[in-house]
């Protein structure tokens, strides 16, 4: 039996306005979702063209969840998004061409070719680059929140993890520390139902991951991760609660990973009917319909957004392709930080 609260879907434009989004914001959310998917689709093409070394991971099906949460964050809030959360980088303002440069291991990617895929973040946008070991970034997010609490700043840290990673001790330790200290943290579980090939019933024995929140002394909420507005509303509530000193929340966003774990994986182990059922709830199509039905999005507006995204992607790909590969003479540089590296606003 579920312990966590199961969030209701969002109904009307009025309800959305109450949650803090006006019509322009909504069109911006739609644009961010389109751009997120577009970047990953173009990434697939680059991969097939042999332009992306290594493997390639996407968050298809998770666009509403990532964009919804990031839209609810304040400008001074920080986050540790993962490999299904490209939408977070987009909302926070990373330039798309730098993402393509990152994919291709170029010198202008955020990691200058030292790491690949979504293993990147622009710290000026309040994001911290993920590592492959999941959920290793949760204790880091909690540490950000601890800094805010010590300095009595009204800022919030958002830490992402997957339902698979919820099995690891880092998750338990991070939530324990955040819980006992009531730190301004929001934990977001991207439950896309498959940890590589392993289904949820072999990953956790509760009905929801969010059911665990109660044992850490805070609220757990399960939200439909294909409903960007419901995700936004729940994230906004949790973030503002944390900001007001109310402690952490665990939001579990339920989606389906609509592709394999990575580009090499055809996901043969996911039942076909499952894909078909979730395809009916495609987050982009769902929000597009909602905008047309509830916010009078016109054909012209829709076309304008789509054309703008297409142009952004074309320009970004071109610029990224012009970025050089890293100079091998830089190989051993920057293993250790210098005092000048601390010359940032955070460290003043």
């Amino acid at each position: 039996m579920a312990i966590a609260r199961e969030a209701e879907p969002v109904g009307s434009l009025k309800e959305v306005r109450e949650a803090g989004l006006d019509r322009e914001d909504l069109l911006g959310v739609y644009r961010s979702m389109l751009l997120t998917r577009g970047i990953e689709e173009r990434g697939h093409i680059l991969y097939r063209q042999g332009k992306i070394p290594g493997s390639f991971y996407t968050g298809r099906g998770n666009e509403a969840a990532s964009v919804g949460v990031a839209t609810a964050m304040g400008p001074d809030d920080v986050g540790t998004p993962l490999h299904r959360d490209m939408g977070v980088h987009i909302v926070r303002g990373v330039e798309p061409w730098r993402i393509f440069a990152q994919y291709m291991g170029r010198a202008d990617g955020p990691t200058k070719g030292r790491d690949g895929n979504v293993h990147m973040a622009d710290s000026n946008l309040g994001l911290i680059a993920m590592v492959s070991h999941l959920p290793a970034m949760l204790p880091v997010a909690v540490g950000c929140a601890l800094a805010f609490r010590i300095r009595e700043e009204k800022r919030v840290a958002v830490g992402w993890f997957g339902e698979g990673a919820s099995a690891r001790g880092d998750c338990h330790e991070a939530m324990t520390l955040a819980g006992v200290r009531k730190l301004p943290t929001v934990f977001v579980c991207d439950n896309n139902q498959w940890a590589y090939s392993t289904p949820t019933h072999l990953e956790f024995a509760t009905e929801h991951v969010a059911d665990r929140a109660e044992s850490y002394g805070f609220e757990g909420v399960v939200v439909d991760g294909t409903d960007v507005l419901a995700v936004y509303r729940e994230a906004k509530r949790a973030i503002e609660k944390a900001r007001a000193g109310g402690g952490p929340t665990l939001i579990e966003s339920l989606t389906l990973r609509m592709e394999g774990h990575a580009v090499h994986d055809d996901a043969f182990y996911v039942p076909k009917e499952m894909f078909e059922r979730w395809a009916e709830n495609d987050p982009l199509e769902r929000f597009r319909s909602w905008l047309r039905d509830n916010a009078d999005m016109s054909d012209d507006e829709e076309e304008e957004i789509a054309a703008g995204v297409k142009k952004t992607l074309n320009d970004a790909l071109k610029r990224a392709d012009e970025s050089p590969l890293p100079d091998v003479s830089s190989l051993t540089e920057g293993v250790y930080a210098t005092p000048e590296d601390l010359d940032t606003p955070h460290h003043k």
Partner: protein, 324 residues
């Protein structure tokens, strides 16, 4: 100058930085009300409050991981592992996140992790280890191992000030046994610089931590044989002071590398290899290593004594080299 124990010097260094810099905070198990298992932070919570001296849950990954997050947000966290042995629980975080963040993402992680390490009092397999070589192997981490009270304070301040993750190995056997003059004001001891603990001409001992004193006693015994022993206290294992080691070896032409950690893959192997590579022509004898055998640290006193290199072992090693 005041005469302080090694432990008091660590406290003094930490207190100095916390008074000077509001970004510095301490987090660890029982560091608050109890003042730490060894009382390094005794009285700190009264002075600095509950939010700068944080009693953490028994969760080493959360402790060190939270330090990383706080450091990225501009704080200067100091984590205490109750025993260095427990750092294995936070190994993943240090190696996977903290060590690599600067190189791959350009994000400095200025954290200090204090590690009460070393044996000599029947702590057994889980309260006695010297895990510095494991971390010295990880690009992105720094490892310091002070032996004197003066260095204990100065290196701790340097560690906190350093823009990188620094593992600060404080040897438990030195805590109350070793006293020394310590400047009262704030000062730093540079990370990566060795110190000549004793000057000599015939054999160089390269060592660090509590073994500095073991080497010192052995060197005194050799004096009566007319053998003059130089002791290089490395102070920092990563980055290590290669020029100072090579300079000493070139002077004496004989090198004994001594450490309390186990032998195979211990940091002494790196030093011995470097001497062989870069000072081969200057050597009059093969480089000798003295280290603990490749076993877990045993509990029972005679076993532990046989495990940790003793003065007699070093004396024998030095004689062998002197006679070569």
């Amino acid at each position: 100058m005041a005469e302080l124990t090694y432990l008091q010097a660590i406290s003094d260094g930490l207190r100095t930085e916390m008074r000077r810099d509001k970004r510095v905070f301490v987090i660890g198990e029982d560091v608050g009300v109890y003042g730490g298992a060894f009382k390094v932070t005794l009285g700190f919570q009264e002075e600095f409050g509950h939010w700068r001296v944080l009693d953490a849950p028994l969760a080493e990954t959360a402790i060190v991981g939270a330090c990383t997050g706080a450091a990225i947000m501009g704080m200067r966290p100091v984590a205490e592992m109750q025993f260095a042995d427990f750092i294995s629980c936070a190994w993943d975080h240090l190696v996977t996140v903290a060590a690599k963040q600067r190189y791959r993402a350009g994000t400095p992680v200025p954290i200090t992790v204090r590690l009460p390490s070393g044996g000599g009092f029947s702590g057994g397999p889980f309260h006695s280890q010297n895990p510095e070589s494991s971390f010295a192997h990880i690009p992105g981490l720094k490892c310091v191992c002070p032996a004197t009270p003066e260095d204990a304070k100065g290196l701790l301040i340097s560690a906190i000030e350093d823009p990188n993750p620094v593992l600060y190995f404080e040897h438990k056997h030195l805590y109350r046994r070793i006293k020394g003059e310590v400047p009262e004001e704030r000062y730093t001891v540079p990370i990566g610089k060795a110190r000549t603990h004793r000057e000599g001409d015939d054999v160089s001992v390269i060592t660090w931590g509590a073994m500095v004193y073991t080497a010192g006693e052995a060197a005194q015994q050799l004096e009566s044989d007319g053998v003059s022993v130089e002791i290089v206290d490395l102070r920092t294992v990563m980055p290590w002071d290669k020029p100072a080691v090579l300079e000493s070896v070139r002077k004496t032409s004989k090198a004994l590398v001594l450490h309390e950690d186990t032998r195979t893959g211990g940091f002494g192997a790196e030093i011995a290899a470097t001497i062989a590579e870069e000072a081969f022509e200057d050597l009059d004898a093969p480089v000798k290593r003295i280290a603990a055998p490749d076993t877990p640290v045993p509990f029972s006193p005679p076993l532990e004594k046989a495990f940790i290199p003793q003065v007699d072992d070093v004396v024998a090693g030095l004689r062998e080299l002197a006679e070569y």
